[in-house]
Amino acid sequence: MTAPPTSEVEAPDRAQGKVRFRSEQRRNLTGWVFLLPAAILICLMNFYPMVQALIMSLKTGRGTRFRWADPLWENYTRLFDDDIFRTTLFNTFFYLIVQVPIMLGLALLLATLLNNPNLRFRGLWRTMIFLPCAVSLVSYSLVFRTMFATDGLVNDTLIGLHLSNAPIDWLGNTWTARIVIVLGLLWRWTGYNMVFFLAGLQNIESSTLEAARVDGANAWRTFWHVTVPQLKPMILLCAIMSTNGTLQLFDESWNLTQGGPANSTMTMSHYLYQLSFNRNPNFGYASALSYAILIMVAVLAFIQLKVGDKRD
């Protein structure tokens, strides 16, 4: 509202503006206070060690005897000559590109199905599909390795259904082992992401869905034009988190395949852990590798935020 510039109304309006400005300012300040505990903790627990790791990535040396690398970025250029790093980079991106879209799609589908109030046994389905991520890694890897063994359940089923003539050495071949890792990831994390989508769906006004139905939109159109746009903040969050989680993937590579056969399923984080604790420790190089991961996640997250975080 624009007030006419007359001397009579000018004074109170300005005063009112001042009040509004002050309360805006105060609220902004309140906002900062709300952030403070988290910000302090993240500075101490995350940023300080990150700065230390950055310094370490510019150093070289064995054991605890470090000196500045010459040139300073030596550890970073070393990454380009490292065959094992290149393999792990490829593997990790393969998991990212194949697994994350399938997983988020499935999770979204399941969440939408389970959000239907007319569905029977909702609680039961929801619990069963969530359970995998609560199951201990030890039993999960034991079961997966047994199922995908040459004489395991999967081969028995495939042969029984005449989908395959001879047993497949799932974990012994490069591409089948990578597929097992992707299946493992899907199994463990789809229900996890579904929970966030469910939480997001709870926040959608059911009246908007009702309106769409009244307008005669079919289920698919309602889902695509009403549900998905409102769920966008949550989809974005899950996409960023899954990207981050996949680029830092460790558990599956470590437990299911031990990185094998011949490093062909090893992830970057697995290699990082090996460099730090299993092999002759090389912390300068390991830190450089971790910053390489950071940069890759940051770039991908930035792109996702740019695409998905527009405020309408």
Binding site: L44, P261, A262
Partner: protein
Amino acid sequence: MFELNRRHLLAGALSAAAVTMVGCSGSDGDSEGPKAGDKVPTSGELSVWCWDPAFNVYAMKEAAKIYQKTSPEVKVDVKETPWDDIQTKVTTLAQSKKGDQLPDILLVQNNAFQKNVINYPELFADLSDSGVAFDEFGESVVGYSKIDGKNYGVPFDNGTAINALRTDLLEKVGLKVSDFTDITWDDYLTMGKDVKAKTGKPLLSAQSGQSDMLMMMLQSAGASLFGDDEKANIANNETLKVVMKYYGELMKSGVLVELNSWDQYIGSFVNSNVAGTINGVWILGSVQTAKDQAGKWEITNVPKLVGVDGATNYTANGGSSWAVSAKGDTALAADLLKKTFAGSTELYDTILPKSGALANWSPAGKSEVYKKPQPFFNNQPIYSKVVEFAGKVPSNKTGAYYYEARDAVAAAMVKVLKGTKIDEALAEAQKNVEFAMK
């Protein structure tokens, strides 16, 4: 705005950083190891890290009891800690210059011993002059914890390799365990094919992608992945090529079956899917979990390579040694090890029947307890047999990059099994190890 924010945020962190830096600059004083003449305190508390309650933890607790007979004022606190965790803790404490948080005594895998001492010499006490009679241990086991002529470890857990076989399955083919004694891998292959043809079972199983079997075969001929100059010796290692050739033949003939995980490897003999196994003697603990197979197992020595200088029927896999922290009560810790693990037949006589923990310390092997026939193993006196094997195991060089080299060779073997030429695969392994050592 971005910069400003970050600076603000960092302000808090920097004050913490200032505190921390103090800790980093302090240099560690020279740590002299305990000397034979050092005065040993008569009281104190020793902390110990080791894993496996049925084995190492138990052995250390028994050792403490024996030591307390002469030094009742000494307490020993054993904390069960798996090897992976010990390695992570040692690394973290060393990098944080907090070596004083280490326990007085810790158990270290033989394969990782040199790596840890070479990287963190300030953490480990030199035991050369501690009075422990290192010549009473086999040369190859002492070698794992010997760096630059100094002894840093008291060998404990025995890794001597055995060839364990199912007598009932061999019988079906008309073979006896004695037919497998002092043989070559050629003989093993011939008999293995026979066993496979008549019983349908492989003689041997191994975990795929792992180097254990390859390393055992290599060490049996006294060969290593590193030369005397500490440089990687992989691409032109003729013994290694022979080893890989045999491994390939074992796989191709079906005499050896590879499994994808440790649990499946254990399952292969526990569930009677293979007719035998070759590994460190410690594998017998798992063999004995199959109660239905009691009396059906016997052991013998391992096959030897053909056409290789220095080939023997003896080798080892794994094992571990006690290390003493240079930051703790070193004199007392060394004294405990000297009087128990390197000086008490009573200790070994106690722990052998209950845990199967075999001595590396040769005086213990002469005890009557070792000669007792073992019902599970068809009344063979397996322990005195293993002690006999142990004395004949050739030495193996480990060094700081042993794990890199083992991983590279394991990866090369996987490629060879898929059709790559041995020379080509080994050249790549050599390149990767040299890169890691750069």
